[in-house]
Assembly symmetry: C2
Homo-oligomer: 518 residues x 2
């Protein structure tokens, strides 16, 4: 499907042109009754918004599935981003940015069934456009377009999915992704191990509680299906059933495989044995000797790589959190090798994650607190290259919305107030008619790099100036009065202790810095 032709049937919504409109619809063979019903419902909804006087009454809301971030949420968001960006930079990543929309055809054929969730822009003439669905496909398009074969980049930006919040509650339609990817032809498992090291560092530093990183390989899954007797054309659908093991019992998963997907009971039982296995390098070694698994070349290649991966992870001292788990089967089609997913294992964190309103599956968040995921996708860039040249890639995406939500809950529970500004000092006056003196002083402070505020009133009361400081968490007040001006000093007040001390104007800036730059 490259596009559609849309013909404007009528350009007025209500009033005198409506009859023409209806006649046109009658004479037009392409429209269905359902489509007409839909249009009528939409018109009536719009009409309901018109007041008695015919004036539009604004609906004061953000679009369905989206939200504003208030200053407190932004302060938490900034803290989380800084931790993540610091880690990405520590690992030498550059950053890029791409437009919020892409040519529709760039996204076509990349997301399988989920393509129906893509937001399209209205055809207003010119190109057909869609909002980006993730950051991985734009990254692959960027690499192919600029013929880049080596890059380590991070990209933090919003993506858009027309999910139906009524069906899957807790899902946002606009949400952040936080991606780190390494593209290039390198020796096996070295960049893959670094991605896991990065997840480990970030989750440690964010202090979200205990976590585990599950690891598997697309080739091991495919090999396992083959040796268990799953027909080739059922790999994908059986894989997506295995993917449900973190929220369904094995019995229910087996029932789905056998009853709904038509797999033989014997094959299902064999799969059941494998997907219950968890371990480390030892498990990979054992499976390489397994009489059935070892028949699959693919599985052996995956198992050897898992062994190598664990060797590197040992050097990074992160194996305490990493588990080779044969039930891990991430949904996305484009993975070709190692895949991984980090989950929070603490009860408190999990319950926080339940509340998380993000782009991931809500049912998922009930059973696990998945906070990061990724894997190797060696074929995606080639889909964009006219000659199909491959650029191997491995990457990780941090589930930032869920992390925001946990951090917000932690902030709520904490007695400490979240500050939304970094203001060090308020320039206040104890008497009337000192606006000019306040403005002159605050100008000096700003020019010296001090973060300072002044009330935008000619004669504010001292009490209201002090109250403002308490509410905003401003630690210091510089109080000006006739006497202070005469003496060439400022009365420096510490809000928390109410201690007051006269400081000479010459020493003020260094004194503020000394007291606030911890």
């Amino acid at each position: 499907m490259l596009g559609m032709i849309w013909v404007r049937a009528c350009s007025a919504l209500v009033g005198f042109r409506a009859p023409t409109c209806v006649r046109s619809l009658h004479s037009f063979p392409g429209i269905t009754v359902a489509q007409i019903d839909e249009e009528v419902a939409k018109l009536l909804a719009l009409k309901a918004q018109l007041g008695d006087d015919g004036k539009t009454q604004f609906v004061l809301k953000t679009p369905k599935g989206t939200r504003d971030y208030n200053p407190k949420q932004m302060a938490i968001r900034e803290k989380v981003f800084n931790t993540i960006i610091r880690c990405f930079k520590r690992h030498g990543a550059e950053t890029i940015d791409t437009p919020v929309f892409e040519l529709k055809e760039t996204l076509t054929g990349k997301y399988g069934e989920d393509s129906k969730l893509i937001y399209d822009l209205k055809d207003q003439g010119g190109e057909l456009l869609s909002l980006r669905y993730d950051l991985t496909v734009p990254f692959a398009r960027y690499l192919a377009m600029n013929k880049i074969t080596n890059i380590k980049r991070y990209h933090i930006a919003k993506v858009y999915r027309r999910d139906n919040p009524a069906m899957t509650r807790g899902r946002y339609r606009e949400f952040y992704q936080c991606d780190f990817d390494i593209a290039g032809q390198y020796d096996a498992m070295i960049p893959d191990a670094e991605c896991l090291k990065i997840v480990h560092e970030i989750l440690n530093e964010l202090d979200l509680g205990d976590f585990r990183i599950k690891v598997n390989d697309r080739r091991i899954l495919d090999g396992m299906f083959a040796v268990c007797g799953v027909p080739d054309d059922k790999f994908r659908t059986i894989c997506s059933t295995v993917d449900k093991l973190d929220k369904m019992s094995w019995e229910d998963v087996k029932k789905e495989m056998v009853n709904e997907k038509g797999l033989s009971e014997e094959a299902a039982d064999q799969i059941g044995e494998y997907v219950s296995m968890q371990g480390g390098m030892d498990l990979a070694e054992r499976l390489l000797q397994d009489h059935k698994m070892s028949q699959s070349k693919q599985a052996c290649a995956g198992l050897s790589d898992i062994k190598l991966l664990f060797k590197y992870l040992q050097l990074f001292h992160v194996t305490d959190k990493v588990v080779f788990d044969l039930s891990l089967a991430r949904g996305l089609d484009y993975y070709t090798g190692v895949i991984y997913e980090a989950v929070l294992t603490q009860a408190s964190a999990v319950s926080a994650a339940n509340e998380a309103q993000n782009g991931a599956n809500a049912e998922e968040s009930v059973s696990v607190g998945s906070v990061a995921g990724g894997g190797r996708y060696d074929g995606l860039v080639g889909m964009f290259d006219p000659k199909g040249r491959r650029v191997p890639c491995v990457g990780v995406s941090i589930g930032i919305e869920r992390i925001f939500s946990i951090m917000e809950q932690k902030a709520e529970a904490s007695p400490e107030k979240v500050r939304t500004t970094e203001v060090q000092i308020m320039v206040a006056s104890a008497q009337k008619n000192l606006l000019e003196e306040r403005l002159q002083l605050i100008s000096e402070l700003w020019n010296a790099g001090i973060k300072a505020e002044v009330m935008y009133k000619k004669n504010p009361k001292l009490l209201s100036q002090l109250q403002y400081c308490e509410e905003a968490g401003i630690p210091l007040v510089a109080i000006l009065g006739e006497q202070e001006l005469k003496d060439g000093v400022v009365k420096l007040r510490v809000v928390a202790t109410r201690e007051e001390v006269d400081i000479s104007r010459a020493d003020l800036i260094s004194e503020i810095k000394r007291r606030t730059e911890a």
Copy 2:
């Protein structure tokens, strides 16, 4: 206009359904020949993308009017943003974020003629949505929705305008805005003066060359038009002609007023006298005594405020760059009081600005390098409040795309290379089979907060590791060899000087910090 009904004329683009399609068009009365031509052109363009084998060939590009930012551009962008955000925070601003799209009706009726430039999303069921056109209207919606009457906030985000790059070259359809606004009922001109102080600080710190900040007031313009005999219903259109004075001669502006807009020659000449006036507080005082201007209450209110503004600007020591200019007439309808615009005045900066590809008018950038603008808009929030409650606002928007472009040119011209990462050290080896030792060492460095890279090869050549450092601007290399491992040291190499020194493993981290943390 609340919306439109679109009827799908035919759902297949090419092939066997085309004849049906054409018949449908014939029997359909609402379509024009021009529309058919347009659709045909679109179909042929799509057909051209189909290869001989009928397979789609990807067009590897970003949508028209948009661009990717590569790592070098991102490094410059980050530097500029940091300077601006530091300034906004110094002035005590919080930050918020809003969705990239709004309900279509939120944007309706806010932008006058420019509404045609708004990107609409396709109606895929549910609400009608549009991409934001600026950050001011979403800010006003946010205030009204949350009943906020006092806030000082900044917001840095992308906005979208379906401008036609063919007509106005150098215009982007996706570009950043960088807004600082103060909302609340305060004493006159204090927040307004702070906005100008902020522009002054930012332009100074970015070091873009000399600049001037023009100031005027919507009430002075309206009063001037009234006393010059412009009919009430021509204020807006005459105002938009005055707005062209920075790129057209007075003669041409007068011609447009008289010939196109039907103003009397006498009225035009009187306007011409006023709009040639520039000055400071003295000019405001003189005009308050002007026998004609003083007849307008509006003008007098504006002039008194300009006087007060200059008084505060003197206290801030920024009057050297600020000029009261009666020809300044910013386009946007929603301004109600003081308005201002900062322009770069240096030739080099201006020529750089010519190249600037941003959301502002391209013709503008030929004559002036406008890099910031704003003003007071006391009525906008009330448009969203069901009871029309007003929240006075004043704000400034930094023309960040133009600034990026100037900074990029400066970086190009400079012999210094723009670094796209902050990596302090590369962990390298001089011999084969030392991958494990390299991984172990780099893990120690990462854990100590050092920004470090390692090549993802088992046995990279020393030369290629050193070359990578030169290209990426990495200042240090930690070289491991059999001898160093035996001695418990690392050979630390300074890339610039090629100096090498053995450092004990115990001292390595502090030595790296000492050498790289300037």
